[in-house]
Point group: none
DNA sequence: CATGAATGAGAGTTCATTCAT
DNA sequence: GATGAATGAACTCTCATTCAT
């Protein structure tokens, strides 16, 4: 009996926490940390202001809980994508798809991550990279495998990954500031094509640029 | 005499405005609009708080003046880059260089543009694109010329430009959130290489991805 | 059977009440009424917050219960001291000892009585004097007896008692604000000596001050 | 001109500070630190809430400013009393008078000092004793002189002073909690008489108590 | 013109009290 | 009866903006 009750209670508490986090996520995303206001969050979550403080020490803690949950979900999403293929090029394409569709599904997280690059820079950047680069390791292996198999040009791996990451985050960033008017996932094919094969058609010119250090 | 005095006065006023804008730019970039505080700005600009309000109607107006000045400078920078070559591929590379080095020189602007994608989204996005796409028109012509000369693959131009823009902004964004620890301009060569020629080495695989719609 | 159960229950309730009052006494003494916090009291008493409210209508009622219990104990203590001697001077010394050692044993009460001289002034002062002056009547009789027996100088009794009371309460007050670093009871001998015989040695000067109205 | 203006401004600022301190002193005395509320203080001082915070960092700082000013005044008062006589016994009586009439004039300070013996115990006790014991040194010398001149019985000086201090503070304390219904200064003669000559009339009994260790 | 003291709406946070379980 | 999650009034403190000097 007792166990059941306790379980029920815990579930209820978890639901309440989730409820607050969901709302907070939306509001922080829309307003940014500083402008977002606890009263509004409480009201939108249909709880009293005190309840928010019952579950989270203060506004900052609530915010970080939102961020942490988001990053945890990102990690989960990318891990699930797992190994559906052995081909390095296909892996690269799949990773792109996963990353973009995650953020398409978790719109709020974008606003939050973009917004708070200063106030919480260290905190967030650290967590972001902890979570993300756990996966980047795998990406690295993929690129390396591609090079070993002579599928991919020999280049400095970190530089390539840096371009790869920038491109993805840039796509998300632009999507966000342009008002999310299109489907992010639709960009995958053109991005893949350009990232993998470039835009040059002329063979001579391509060679020229490929040689260039 | 009078004219001279008036001129002097105007110059003084302009200097003061510039002085305030410079400081405000730095502080808005570091703190974001909401957290930045007028007292701090006034103090850092070595003027009284009232003076700030003398030159700018309110905090919002000051902020937008900072943004507008920044975007105006961006426009200027890119226009100056001008027409140093006729080759479309070189033009593309040069535009990259100009864009990245502008933001490397105007670090504050990055923080401001990134920060305020929500509160001032419409205002800023509008201005940004007005200024920027003035230039994008030229980029468009460049890409088109490249295609006409069979240097560049036939693709949807807007899509290509979207990837191009995302890549550049993504590079700047990552540079910012990673703490601006390297020279942004150093990325130009690898980015150019990948954007122009892709990462694939294997011919068969390249063909395959080039055909893919 | 029923009676036994009811008795047990009552005993339990009393134990719980005592438990809460003990903890509350300590906390009110340390923090004062306004700063003391019910959550802390409940936790320290090992009961739920609701339980505190079950036994005491509200914070104020709990506080007054603490005070009342303290004053009741003071009354008890002084009554017990009883009549161990007939000599007025010895009685005066004994009353001092009793009073000081009571507060030495009931440290919390001091903090509470000192703290709340404003918010609860009337309530507490009334109770304090009701309880205390019940005894003061006896003190009065003692002084009168002393005067009647020509042991004590003829003076206005209320004034003498007022000095007597002030001295004792002053000792307790100073002991408290100095951090209770010594044994309060150790002051009895010097206080008695001074109160009974004064500090003057020189006979002429003493006479002079004794005559002075 | 400038100097004059600056002076005027400073005077104005000082007046404003005094104005706030006066009101705060009254309210802290009546309500205690925790219950006193900044809004009320601001309103009573006829200034905006922000103004209070303009002059004092926070509630605590305001409170301590009130205390410090009070203690500073106490020091001043006692120093002024100065050396109006050379006779040790008269000095002792004069010091009493000064001390009691100071607190009679500075009623608010009593409430404040009594109230906050816990929250600010260390801070206040330290300041109080710094200021007060500056004077206690003089008291000590007076007692010592009295003993050297064989006017005062040979006793442990610190103990005597402790009784002396307790008696005075006790008088003030009782005056306060009894509602300040009489003139504090009227107690001086009876207190002096008892402190100097004791209450015993009977010679034999006096000897007995004087011998007692 | 330039200043910064003054202001009060509004923000974050606390906590006595209630009440469903 | 016992509990502690939920609540919102009330409190401290901040800061954009105004205005007398």
């Amino acid at each position: 009996m007792r166990t059941k009750d306790t379980k029920k209670k815990k579930a209820l508490i978890d639901r309440r926490k989730t409820q607050i986090l969901d709302v907070a996520s939306l509001i922080f995303s829309k307003e940014g940390f500083a402008k977002a206001n606890t009263d509004e969050i409480a009201k939108a979550a249909n709880v009293g202001k005190g309840t928010v403080y019952h579950y989270f020490k203060n506004k900052r803690a609530l915010f970080l809980a939102v961020v942490d949950r988001g990053l945890e979900q990102l990690k989960g999403a990318i891990l699930i994508e797992a190994e559906k293929t052995d081909d390095p090029l296909e892996k690269i394409e799949n990773a792109m798809k996963t990353y973009l569709s995650f953020f398409e599904k978790n719109k709020n997280l974008i606003g939050i991550l973009i917004h708070e690059q200063s106030s919480f820079q260290k905190r967030i950047a650290k967590h972001y990279f902890e979570h993300y680069y756990g996966n980047v390791d795998k990406i690295k292996q993929t690129f390396r495998a591609g090079m070993d198999q002579d599928l991919i040009k020999g280049m400095d791996i970190d530089s390539v990954i840096s371009v790869y990451t920038s491109m993805l985050n840039g796509l998300i960033f632009m999507w966000q500031i342009e008002g999310r008017k299109y489907r992010l996932i639709d960009k995958v094919s053109i991005v893949t094509k350009i990232f993998l094969t470039g835009i040059i058609k002329d063979k001579k010119r391509r060679k020229e640029y490929e040689k260039e250090k």
